[in-house]
């Protein structure tokens, strides 16, 4: 066994994150760790990676017990973590990032040669002198892998690696994973996607609420069995509402061009969204969809072209704690900020005042209706769990009674139950006559959610044909053919 975790428990205050968990990664094997968000997968990986010490239990490498005091320690033992979000320093070049992670000397000429040799050997090409901030999402992930392997990792811990990738990119990643295991390495693949685990893993372990509920070879499990193990019960899913096809046009854009922050931005978009429609955008990060959504939400000014959006517009940003909520402020304050001065609790002319007791009351009602669980309206937004934060964000967006609702990755990091609830709210908003525009980097979510699907590729927005399947949509977002391709 390359890596063995035995009897691991970990708690944060009153919360028991892991309870007596065992996990082993063998050479030549992909071991999938499956579970919902909050099941304890990340905590387990952080213990394996040396970022967190376990309360009890042991970590062993090659059968010998070890105590990691830091991530560097773990790396010294051949454990390499590939985080879901890039851990590259944005201002550094690719090679500086590799030097930082692997402990290599910094002298530029030698470093470049060394990096080039490595990427060639791994068959993962990457220009050493590019700044990390300019890399696409999949190249950022590639950099993460190269960083881990530069430090001579024998075990790779992959944390939700496909969450931000297009299907073809995922395929490429898994081809690399197979090469790596064939070369004698071991892989722990953390995921909440069943199909992925079934497709790639040699062995599957399911975590639920911090405990192992199932662990067996791939050959001995079924999709149904895994679902039951993950969720531990049946899901409540709101039925999709029937869209109003003939609602008024609420969003209209024509030849729209928006400059991005350093990237290419949005080069060309023409679209029409009617009230009652839920339109989902598919695309790999950095292809113009972010600029489209933010222009529709009124946050960035178009560079060129026509854009007409009915008011009021509400926006649910992807990053809940820096762009969405202010963690240090209370629920009430966050609601007041989001709803704006049109709210009933903002009174007076000239010097506008806030009637806090009215705002508190309304926040309490919203929290109740949207099932936001907290220590009350005066708790800080930072004290909420991710799912409850997202529900609060959606609640306050809807409180504006928007005619247009824009949401970026509205279920990122949420568990299945919370995801279903958020989906239900979005459908309900459309059913109530709003035009809803949603971007998700999860193709399945796009297909489940959208009445219509728009595709962002290379800064150009096109509409996907009705009834498109996952494979063709995957090809479209990589700009490989589509209905209009010449």
């Amino acid at each position: 066994m390359l890596l063995t975790l035995t009897g691991i428990s970990k708690s944060f205050g009153a919360v028991q994150a892991l309870r007596d968990v065992d996990l082993a990664v063998a050479a030549g094997e992909v071991h999938a760790v499956l579970g919902e968000n909050g099941a304890g997968k990340s905590t387990l990986m952080h213990i394996a990676d040396g970022l967190l010490p376990p309360d009890t239990g042991t970590v062993a490498v090659d059968g010998r017990p070890v105590r990691f005091r830091s991530a560097r320690d773990a790396r010294g033992h051949g454990i390499g973590m590939v985080h879901q979000h890039s851990t590259a320093v944005p201002a550094f070049s690719v090679m500086e990032n590799i030097a930082l992670a692997a402990g290599w000397a910094v002298a530029p000429t030698r470093l470049r040669r060394r990096v080039e040799a490595l990427t060639e050997r791994l068959a993962l090409p990457l220009d050493p002198s590019l700044p990390a901030s300019t890399l696409s999402v999949s190249l950022k992930q590639r950099l993460e892998i190269i960083k881990a392997l530069a430090a001579e990792a024998r075990v790779l811990l992959l944390d939700e690696p496909t969450a931000v990738l297009a299907p073809a990119e995922s395929e490429e990643l898994f081809r690399f994973v197979r090469r790596f295991t064939q070369g004698g390495g071991g892989v722990a693949l953390i995921t909440h996607k069943l199909e992925e685990a079934l497709a790639v893993a040699d062995r599957i372990t399911v975590l639920r609420r911090g405990a192992v509920v199932l662990s067996s070879p791939r050959s001995e499990v079924t999709a149904e069995g895994l679902t039951t193990a993950m969720i531990g019960g049946s899901l409540v899913v709101a039925p999709p509402a029937v869209p109003l096809r003939d609602g008024p046009v609420l969003v209209q854009c024509e030849g729209l061009e928006v400059r991005g922050d350093g990237g290419r931005g949005l080069r060309q978009a023409s679209c029409t969204i009617r009230g009652g429609e839920l339109v989902a955008v598919a695309g790999v990060e950095g292809n113009g969809q972010r600029e489209l959504l933010r222009a529709v939400a009124g946050l960035t000014r178009p560079f060129r072209g026509l854009l007409e959006v009915a008011r009021p517009v509400a926006f649910v940003p992807e990053d809940r704690t820096t762009e969405g909520l202010i963690p240090s402020m209370t629920l009430t304050e966050n609601v007041v900020l989001g709803v704006g001065r049109a709210a009933s609790w903002v009174t007076g002319r000239g010097v506008r005042r806030v009637d806090w007791s009215a705002a508190r009351q309304r926040t309490a009602e919203l929290a109740d209706r949207f099932d936001v669980r907290s220590d009350g309206t005066e708790a800080t937004a930072g004290s909420l769990s991710g799912g409850n934060q997202q529900k609060l964000l959606v609640a306050r967006a809807l409180e504006r009674r928007p005619r247009v609702l824009v949401a970026e990755n509205p279920t990122r990091g949420l568990d299945l139950q919370a995801t279903a609830e958020v989906h239900g709210r979005l459908h309900a908003a459309a059913a109530a006559g709003a035009a809803v525009l949603v971007y998700s980097n999860d193709l399945d979510e796009v297909l489940v959610l959208g009445d219509r699907v728009l595709v962002a590729a290379g800064g150009v927005i096109t509409e996907a044909p009705a009834g498109i399947d996952r494979v063709r949509l995957g090809a479209m977002i990589l700009g490989q053919g589509g209905p209009d391709a010449e």
Partner: protein, 305 residues
């Protein structure tokens, strides 16, 4: 009068004035590259000056430089304990450290040299002309006939540049300043790295203070740094967080100050107060012209804890 000679002399003064500023600013570059703004370097300089004076009184100039550096490190350690150890706001901590330093140096000085503070007069480090180089026209004297502290500055500025941009510890310092989370994931201890950077910055600030005493005036006077630490921080911004840039920016400020006195001494019929404003206004406009938003270390000033 030979205008070349006058220009050369102004340059000599400019380099002299720039030396402590460049030293302190280089130290601050180190700290800021690690993500820490240390407004306490004004205090560290002041303590460096006092340490330099006391050390030189007891055991000569070399000891003075050593004690000055040590005093700067101690002040930086106080700052680091509060701002990094406890994760307190850096600007506020720096202000408090400087405030306390003004009080403490004043008190210690009076304690050491009597309540009325005898005007102690220490031998200063005299200029050491470097053979051949010092004979270069115009810049020879300015650059190569200076006290040893200026040569230390010539060594330390590129050294810190090399450290930051060509070595692993430097890479760690910059990583911590750009993205502490990423640095931690790479196994770099954020607090420890920042603490070292701040302490090294304190050492340079202490050396800068000692330079004032030992290479320039030969005595300590209360509040003698007169805001040079704050100027050094502006110089860091002007030098775009690069030791070499900071060295050049310090030279610019030194030149403006030297010019200011040259203009006063030239007996022009302009109120001298406008000459006094010159270095500061020049720095302001240089900042407006030279600074882009994207230059600062991304995690600068954000306490971590």
């Amino acid at each position: 009068m030979d205008p070349m000679a006058v220009a050369g002399d102004v340059l000599v003064a400019a380099v002299g004035i720039a030396t402590p500023l460049a030293l302190a600013a280089t130290g601050e570059v180190l700290a800021e590259r690690s993500g820490v703004v240390n407004l306490g370097i004004e205090g560290a300089m002041l303590f460096g000056a006092l340490g330099g004076a006391i050390g030189a009184t007891v055991a000569g100039s070399a000891t003075g430089l050593g004690v000055g550096i040590l005093a700067g490190v101690l002040v930086a350690a106080l700052f680091a304990a509060v701002a990094i150890g406890a994760g307190a706001d850096q600007i506020i901590t720096g202000t408090a450290v400087t405030l306390a330093s003004v009080g403490l140096t004043g008190t210690i000085y009076r304690q050491f040299y009597g309540p009325a503070g005898v005007g102690l007069s220490l031998p200063t480090l005299s200029p050491i002309p470097i053979p051949f180089l010092a004979d270069l026209p115009l810049i020879g004297d300015a650059l190569f006939a200076q006290p040893v502290t200026t040569y230390l500055m010539y060594i330390l500025v590129p050294l810190v540049w090399y450290l930051l941009f060509r070595t692993r510890p430097g890479l760690a310092v910059r990583a911590v300043g750009e993205d502490p989370t990423a640095a931690r994931a790479a196994g770099v201890s954020v607090r420890l790295t920042r603490a070292w950077a701040v302490l090294a910055g304190g050492a340079l600030a202490g050396l800068a203070g000692a330079t004032l005493v030992l290479a320039q005036v030969g005595t300590f006077t209360e509040r003698m740094t007169a805001g040079r630490g704050f100027i050094a921080i502006a110089i860091v911004v002007l030098g775009r967080w690069n030791p070499v840039g900071a060295g050049l920016a310090a030279l610019l400020f030194g030149l403006a100050t030297a010019l200011q006195f040259a203009l006063q001494a030239a007996g022009l019929d302009v109120p001298y107060q406008f000459f006094l404003m010159l270095p500061y206004l020049l720095t302001l406009f240089a900042l407006a012209g030279a600074v882009g938003r994207g230059q600062a270390p991304a995690a600068l000033g954000k306490s971590e804890g």
